[in-house]
């Protein structure tokens, strides 16, 4: 009895939970001081075949919406409003 209720809960949770990942990266021509420093350090650590590193931000976002389309639109709105700074950054949303 206890077990089934837990299972049910999990099921419900799953049903109502859509998970997205968002990556936010600097636009191509924008200076990425962090990436540059990381790249140099990796090279100093002996990684010779490294040709480029860019650093960005990563978000995992859980939504309690059923409708995937709707959910994706919400995430898009979040990116535009807060997560990404569209002046210097691009973003990408994926369902996970």
């Amino acid at each position: 009895m206890k077990l089934t209720s837990v299972k049910l809960l999990l099921l419900n949770l799953k049903k109502n939970k859509l998970k997205f990942s968002v990556t936010v990266t600097l636009k191509k021509d924008v200076l990425d001081p962090q990436g540059k420093v990381v790249q140099n350090t990796l090279k100093n650590l002996g990684m010779r075949d490294l040709s480029n590193v860019r650093q960005g931000k990563y978000f995992e976002i859980d939504l309690s919406i059923d409708d995937q389309d709707k959910a994706e639109k919400k995430v898009d709105e979040m990116c535009k409003k807060l997560l990404a700074n569209l002046i210097i950054e691009d973003y990408k949303i994926s369902k996970i």
């Binding site: 021509d29 924008v30 200076l31 001081p33 700074n85 002046i87 210097i88």
Partner: protein, 726 residues
Amino acid sequence: MEINNEIIEKHGLKKDEFSSIKKLLKRDPNLLELGIFSAMWNEHCSYKSSRKHLKTLPTKGDQVIQGPGENAGVIDIGDNDAIIFKIESHNHPSFIEPYQGAATGVGGILRDVFTMGARPIALLNSIHFGSPEHYKTKSLLNGVVAGIGGYGNCIGIPTVAGETKFNKTYNENILVNAMAVGHAQKDKIFYSKAKGLNKSVVYVGSKTGRDGIHGASMASAEFDENSEEKKPTVQVGDPFTEKLLMEACLELMKDDSIISIQDMGAAGLTSSSVEMASKGELGIELDLDKVPCREENMTPYEMMLSESQERMLIILEDGKEERAKKIFDKWDLDFVIIGKTTSTKKLILKYNNRIECEIPISALSTKAPVYDRKWVKKKLPKNKVDFKSLTKVKIEDALIKILSSPNHSNKNWITNQFDQMVMCDTAQKSGADAAIIRIHGKNKAIAVSVDSSANYCKSYPIRGGKQIVCENWRNLISVGAKPLAITNCLNFGNPENQEIMGEFAECLIGIKESCEFLNYPVVSGNVSFYNGTNNKNIFPTPVIGGVGLILDLKNKLSHQFKKNNSTIILIGKTFGHLEQSAFYEEIYSLTEGEPPEINLNNEKNNGTCVLELVKNKLVNSIHDVSSGGLIVALAEMAIGSEYGIKIYKPKKLSNLYQYFFGEDQSRYILEIDKKNLEKTEKILKDNNVFYEIIGLTQKDFFEVDGELKIDTKKLYNLNNKWYNNY
């Protein structure tokens, strides 16, 4: 590419300006040349609208080593110590991208100071935002504050003072002005004037990218709905690299390798090379193939107009290249010889073995347009507010409302985000009338403060201009410093509008008057026009940054009450001027009428005499009376101390509101030990200074006889809560 009207317009050049370019070149410019002209001839670099007026400012004095015209102003503080300082605006970039805009503003002004051989020792800022209710304000505020802190904290220079104001006039055009102050040996100051032929022109610092291309032109254009499209021109700051650049430059400056040095600020490689050549009356030839680039396939146009940050141009003495390169290698910075000085008096740029640009230096500098723009006098406000017609408020309620308003609330929530202590010479942090920075390893210190009064300047530009200089002077005196010189950042609307140009001209008349009278010269500054959106211009907002000297750090003063039962003296006459006061604005939303008049004689006399009292060690604490009037100033002295005050009923002015909230100028409040009172009064009388004894400090309570009695802890809380609820 053919240069058509559209391209010319996109470069912000007027038709007749383009004709002048053709005349100067005796041919049509190519695109690269057009870009260079547009960068050098825009307002930001050429000061074409302001130059005529700036020339009227007093810039000389015994204390001045270098006035305007160099990267920063230099003053003498004795013992071979020099202070180098300047203020600069980064308004437009900060509105578009607040964090990076503010950060690169700080980075830029720091380069102006260390380029002259100074180690920066303090940062200040003046930031103006729209109304707190405006939907953009909060994120702009948070972004700007984080950006200022982000850069200063990382590079390790304390941010010690500033001002933060809110007014709906800045809703669509915020102001972000940053000031840097550095210390150098008087005999080790570096200038940007090139000297000698065939000397190596060296590029040092970060690589050049496509960022900020045409930033300088952007800073000289009004905003409109399409501003969004201008966005990619925002630069990203890299304080880490700037720290390396600063250390490398200061290391190289230890000997005599450098002939001249110039940071790449607005208009990057273009303005730095032209400025050096122009001052030295030389030519300069650059090989653009050698410019260190961050991106592939960058064009000469992009290289010359990029505003990538953290770069410098140096002209080296013969034979010093190797030693110099070693230093920059040590700091992992690019160091490339990209050209040489020549006798041609031309800017010649080569790329792929072809001459891509050939412009006489003078065409870009001395022959850049200067405008005598038409301006009209301000129509001064005639109305006086009819005080009797206003609904009455209790003094206590008005005081509380002002103290807890965004403009008057304590700014700890900002300044706690700035490292104020790094370098371990900050003897007084922000929160005081002026910050105090000790000269490293010595017993003396400088005091610094920035001030503006846009409301005053809007209603009566001449008087406003006069007032901001005086207010700044007072703030320095209030910490026991002798004011020495100022820098100024002139934030105005569109100069092509005659009224705006009038505001500019008249504010400068006022500034000049005060500076002259107080022997408080202008040694550096910056003009930012076109602050406005869709023909709505901001209030005229000149900002004054002042530097003063404290000969013995032991004599420094702050505004918090120090002792119980000491006598409180008010210096200066109280007339009860309420127009343009915080009282009218915060309580009644009234912004009519004239700001208070200033008698410069009294200003000077009062200030000098206060310093005399300080010198005689008669004073426990001082505060100047400014926005909010006497009662707000007294409350500020109580807040954060263990003491309050008992204020006697005023003898003369029957209207308590005028007495307590009037913003009459040239006034200071002094806390004096009873045992020192006699001596103090004698000095005041001997110097013909008007003063009144207005009360006594007491434990814990802020009290006006028969009117109000508030726990000072409550005042503290009221003064500190605004941002928490924002």
